[in-house]
């Protein structure tokens, strides 16, 4: 395959990583924790979408919206039940709890659906258009447009609305935000809802591209998106977007020109290289450690 085709594949995959990475980065920025169960929300989002596809006649956009809503509620519920009681405690106990929730979600879905992969319906079949001789599928086009639309909406929400600004205030200084009358519980809930909804949208796009889903599918996908968030600068939303596209494109090019077997090794090396050169990530500022 030629370079342009690889690049388009990379952008498609990168869109998905970017949507997932936003969830990691927002939760880190606002709740100051790394949520290792975030990857498993993608898996849950895929299964929910599959269930809706199989049991209702809802059109695909309705399926995406319903799965995003259900995942948002699940994300909020997990935060309330599992993470909120640990707020103010050590970061390590919160981290271990997120890993526990991750294992729990995988095992619940293993029990419910078994370990064998389930086929996912082809959601956006068909031709898209041809760009300079390279065919771009409808799925690729939808993935990119949906991702860009959601990024614009999120940027406007965080930048322009009162609730979005309050989230930024909480991310900078929880105590000062409380003195403004901002309810930090609400801001944190909202963060989990947004991150989980974006993960569910990514789940449908991803499962349409790689149409076999299983209870462990979120692990590697989540890890890659987490790396994307760190490369871009964890806590910084545009960084997660940038990191997602970088990882997606790098992965496609490595697959196309080097070797599929080396993809993961090279992506992890990329992380290490970025962290050595710029520990706070590509868009991060090297801030002095707060005392």
């Amino acid at each position: 395959m030629d370079f342009a085709q690889q690049l388009i594949n990379g952008i498609q995959l990168g869109s998905i990583y970017a949507l997932i990475a936003i969830g990691y980065t927002m939760v880190y920025g606002i709740a100051k924790m790394i949520n290792f169960a975030h990857g498993d929300i993608i898996m849950v989002g895929s299964y929910i979408a599959l269930m809706i596809f199989q049991n209702t006649g809802l059109p695909v956009w309705g399926v995406i919206a319903a799965s995003a809503l259900a995942s948002a509620l699940l994300g909020m519920a997990i935060e309330r039940l599992a993470y909120k009681p640990l707020r103010g405690g050590s970061r390590m106990s919160a981290l271990i709890t997120t890993i526990g929730v991750s294992i729990l979600l995988q095992n619940v879905f293993l029990l419910l659906f078994g370990s064998s992969p389930k086929p996912f319906p082809a959601a956006f079949e068909g031709e898209g258009f041809t760009l300079a001789g390279v065919p771009v599928s409808r799925l690729t086009l939808v993935t990119l447009l949906v991702t860009l639309l959601l990024m614009v909406l999120l940027t406007l929400f965080v930048g322009r609305t009162k609730l979005g600004k309050a989230m930024r205030a909480v991310s900078e200084d929880q105590g000062a935000a409380q003195l403004m009358g901002i309810n930090i519980d609400t801001s944190i809930s909202l963060t989990f809802a947004i991150g989980s909804a974006l993960a569910a949208v990514a789940a449908v796009l991803y499962s349409s591209t790689y149409p076999l889903i299983n209870p462990y599918m979120g692990s590697m996908l989540g890890l890659k998106a987490f790396i994307a968030a760190v490369i871009g600068g964890i806590g910084i939303i545009p960084g997660a977007m940038l990191g997602g596209f970088i990882i997606g494109i790098a992965e496609a090019l490595i697959k196309g020109y080097i070797s599929s077997a080396l993809v993961d090794a090279i992506v992890f090396s990329l992380l290490i290289v970025v962290l050595i050169i710029k520990p706070s990530g590509l868009l991060g500022k090297n801030e002095r450690e707060k005392v």
Binding site: K165, A169, E172, G175, Q178, L179, G181, I182
Partner: protein, 233 residues
């Protein structure tokens, strides 16, 4: 207006505030002076609801606010300018003021109050779309005060507003505090800079290791022996 009775606050096993009682009278500037580590910040954070007291009672105009959530206390008309300013450094000056008005819904009144803040602090108006982190220390302190005023408080708590500022800026900040008070806002001012604070205070309390050790009417405290020996040299 504000009454604190037999307040006890702990950090785990550390008994930081040991039975402090004091009162801020309506319309006055009251100062709480004390050395570093005396417990001034702890008291203000407990009043604002950021810390929970072990025991004691805090009342605002007769209604008890002890242990209530910070947003509830703000809605009662009590705003705080925290120690170290703590402006939202990645947000613009205007966005910081907007956060100060977070609990309000009256758009017209909020716009009026932006103007009021910009009138008191013209330098903030020049920097309205600048990120707060790029402001000088004095400007950040002005922003922190302006931000607190955006909730239209009846009472303002200030935690060491002169900290780290050049003397000329300290004078400016203190004259602003006096103006705020003259506009009808009751003030509780916490300071290490005792000489300055006593000059503008109607009434003063001296805090040492979590206890009120002395108190008196404003300028009379300048000659108080405990104050003289500890703070004025």
């Amino acid at each position: 207006m504000l009454k604190v009775e037999d307040l006890n606050v702990y950090y785990d096993k550390i008994h930081a505030i040991k039975g402090a009682s004091f009162e801020v009278r309506d319309g006055e500037i009251c100062t709480l002076i004390g050395a570093n580590g005396a417990g001034k910040t702890t008291i203000l954070q407990t009043i604002s609801g950021l810390l929970q007291p072990k025991s004691g009672k805090i009342t605002l105009d007769g209604s008890e606010i002890t242990g209530r959530a910070p947003n509830k206390i703000l809605l009662q008309g009590l705003a705080q300018v925290p120690e170290g300013r703590r402006v939202f450094s990645k947000m613009t000056v205007l966005e910081n003021l907007e956060m100060g008005a977070y609990t309000r819904k009256d758009a017209a009144g909020i716009r009026e109050d932006y103007e009021m803040v910009f009138q008191s602090f013209p330098r903030l108006k020049e920097r309205i779309h600048q990120q707060a982190g790029t402001l000088s220390g004095g400007e950040q302190q002005m922003l922190a005060i302006g931000r607190a005023l955006m909730s239209r408080p009846r009472m303002l708590l200030l935690d060491e507003p002169s900290m780290g500022l050049a003397p000329i800026l300290v004078d400016e900040i203190f004259s602003i505090i006096r103006q705020v008070n003259q506009s009808g806002v009751t003030v509780l001012l916490v300071e290490q800079n005792a000489a300055k604070a006593l000059e503008i205070a109607h009434y003063s309390y001296v805090l040492a290791t979590g206890q009120i050790v002395s108190s008196g009417e404003g300028k009379s405290m300048l000659t108080d022996s405990s104050v003289r020996s500890a703070y004025l040299g």
